[in-house]
Symmetry: C2
Subunit: 326 residues, 2 copies
């Protein structure tokens, strides 16, 4: 088996890696995503950095495909479509898969970062052997990748799996970054955790270690650290967040009855502080037939390399498809 | 092509039919579902009625498979599992597919009625050619059948597609038949429509044609008829119901971005009275990327025969699978 190239295109850094068929990252490099004003300039810079790695690893003949995980990435079109947080792609459609494919001469697949994480879990992580599972990425926002019958769900237009934007508070919910109210992401992202903490600090006079901080500077990590020291208010913030996630998972089970929910990203670092309320929130809210059935797992991929592995897994999927069709 | 046998097992009537490959029902018969105290007695009675049809249509050699749509039907196990409304199956697991298969000597597949409706729409109805769609059955309850990547979604345990039991009112919602609060079914079923009408009659003094009726006797059909006569309160009941369904569809789109939502069952008889608020509820609540995309369709299957056609379609699916594997 040859290697594949993975590109994890993030809002700040774009990490490029060469990954072998066992999921070992053989080499990585990174560029700043937003130091370029056009998509062409970004691709030029990425290829300059990447070509050094490719030469190290036996040349392009030794690479069978490339996979890209990117915000607002559409698998069907291979393009980044109107990504609000990317200065060279916020205003249109950038056919990034085609641009890399033309320059490298190998097939390139692209999807959004949460879908890449799901394929990554199935290829290298805790979802190996599973046919029905949901990955929820709990970072700055809440993303999701859904695998059913062993296939990633892209939907009719490539945009399936926006579980961060299901409604969880039906009346007078928080305003979300998407402009609507009451979305899961407004509560259960890192940003949502910090907001819940700030609200509780402002609306109660409970003592808390967090009170020494400037409210605007509080992050989800600060809340987790305070909770781990036994801070009651901070523990309650994670209980609230996890319960809401578990309740949302009860609805997701009604949709597709998955074998497992897999949590990925920054908030999972809080460990049992968030995982226990998630399980309880599910048990308290799921339809009887689903109770006790799904597993609640934390990602099995190493944080630092997970995104590149996920992107590379999209490349492997493409490489395998091309082999089957030959 | 041979024929298939379809069995639509309902709470009151069980309709048996023989269906050819073009979707023509060649013969039907029916028995009362609950006139029997055991599953064995039900199967005996169904076979007595069915055998007459089978002989008329060229004997069992002319039947390639049987499909059954039944409440709490599990495709994986071929069994009806703890169906609360069936006197001979409320208390355990009835392996109905196996029971019919042993007696008839042909393969038998079983699923729940909403899944059968979805396969029916894909085989004979408005979903022909579609790969990603959701059927919502709006009857006494709310059921659903979900098709993604051209496959019915059964989930890990066979119980996927319980969209009647997603939460739509997050605080202090109506108690649902399942024992939980705020389920879609508690609002958007025929029962839910009647309940909304009763609540509005009791809580307002708006004039309404419905006030001449005994509140307990009001059905969704009475509300639809009043609305068609221009009764404002009745129109508002359908607006409330449709808006809530449309809002729920916005969440379902975030899950799987389907090409179409297809509505099936009694409430669809209200026509534009419910379909227009559904479309508006979706447009007002969907994430921008989904707006204007999915179609909102009423079932293309004739009401009287739809359920038997749906059940037969499960039989065709099985027959085709067996041919492929030969």
């Amino acid at each position: 088996m040859k290697n594949v190239i993975g590109l994890d295109l993030g809002g700040t850094n774009s990490v490029l890696g060469i990954v072998d068929s066992r999921g070992s990252i053989k080499a990585t490099t990174a560029i700043k995503t937003q130091s370029y004003t056009t998509a062409e300039a970004f691709v030029d810079a990425a290829l300059s950095a990447l070509n050094i790695l490719i030469e190290q690893e036996g040349g392009i003949a030794n690479m069978s495909a490339m996979g890209i995980g990117a915000p607002n990435g559409n698998y069907y079109s291979g393009a980044i479509e109107y990504a609000p947080n990317l200065c060279w792609a916020h205003n249109g459609v950038v056919p990034l898969a085609e641009m890399f494919s033309q320059r490298l001469g190998i097939p390139v697949a692209l999807t959004n970062d949460a879908n890449a994480a799901a394929i990554g879990e199935m290829t290298y992580g805790v979802a190996r052997g599973m046919k029905n599972f949901i990955v929820l990425t709990l970072g700055t926002g809440v993303g999701s990748g859904i695998v059913l019958n062993g296939q990633l769900i892209y939907g009719h237009d490539g945009f399936a799996g926006e579980l961060g934007h299901v409604n969880v508070v039906s009346h007078d919910g928080r305003v979300c970054g998407c402009g609507r109210q009451g979305c899961l992401e407004a509560y259960c992202s890192a940003t949502g955790v910090a907001r819940t903490a700030r609200e509780r600090l402002a609306n109660t006079d409970k003592p808390s270690l967090l009170r020494v901080m400037n409210a605007d500077d509080i992050t989800s990590l600060d809340v987790a650290m305070a909770a781990q020291k036994g801070d009651k208010l901070a523990v309650e913030v994670y209980e609230f967040t996890g319960t809401m996630l578990g309740k949302a998972c009860a609805d997701f089970a009604a949709f597709c009855s998955p074998e497992a929910f897999i949590f990925f990203g920054g908030l999972t670092k809080a460990g049992d502080l968030i995982m226990n309320p998630i399980k309880k929130g599910f048990a308290d809210n799921a339809l009887t037939i689903f109770k006790g059935k799904p597993k609640f797992l934390v990602s099995g991929l190493d944080g630092a390399s997970a995104a590149v592995l996920g992107a590379s897994a999209i490349g492997w999927e493409l490489a395998n498809k091309m082999m089957t069709h030959r």
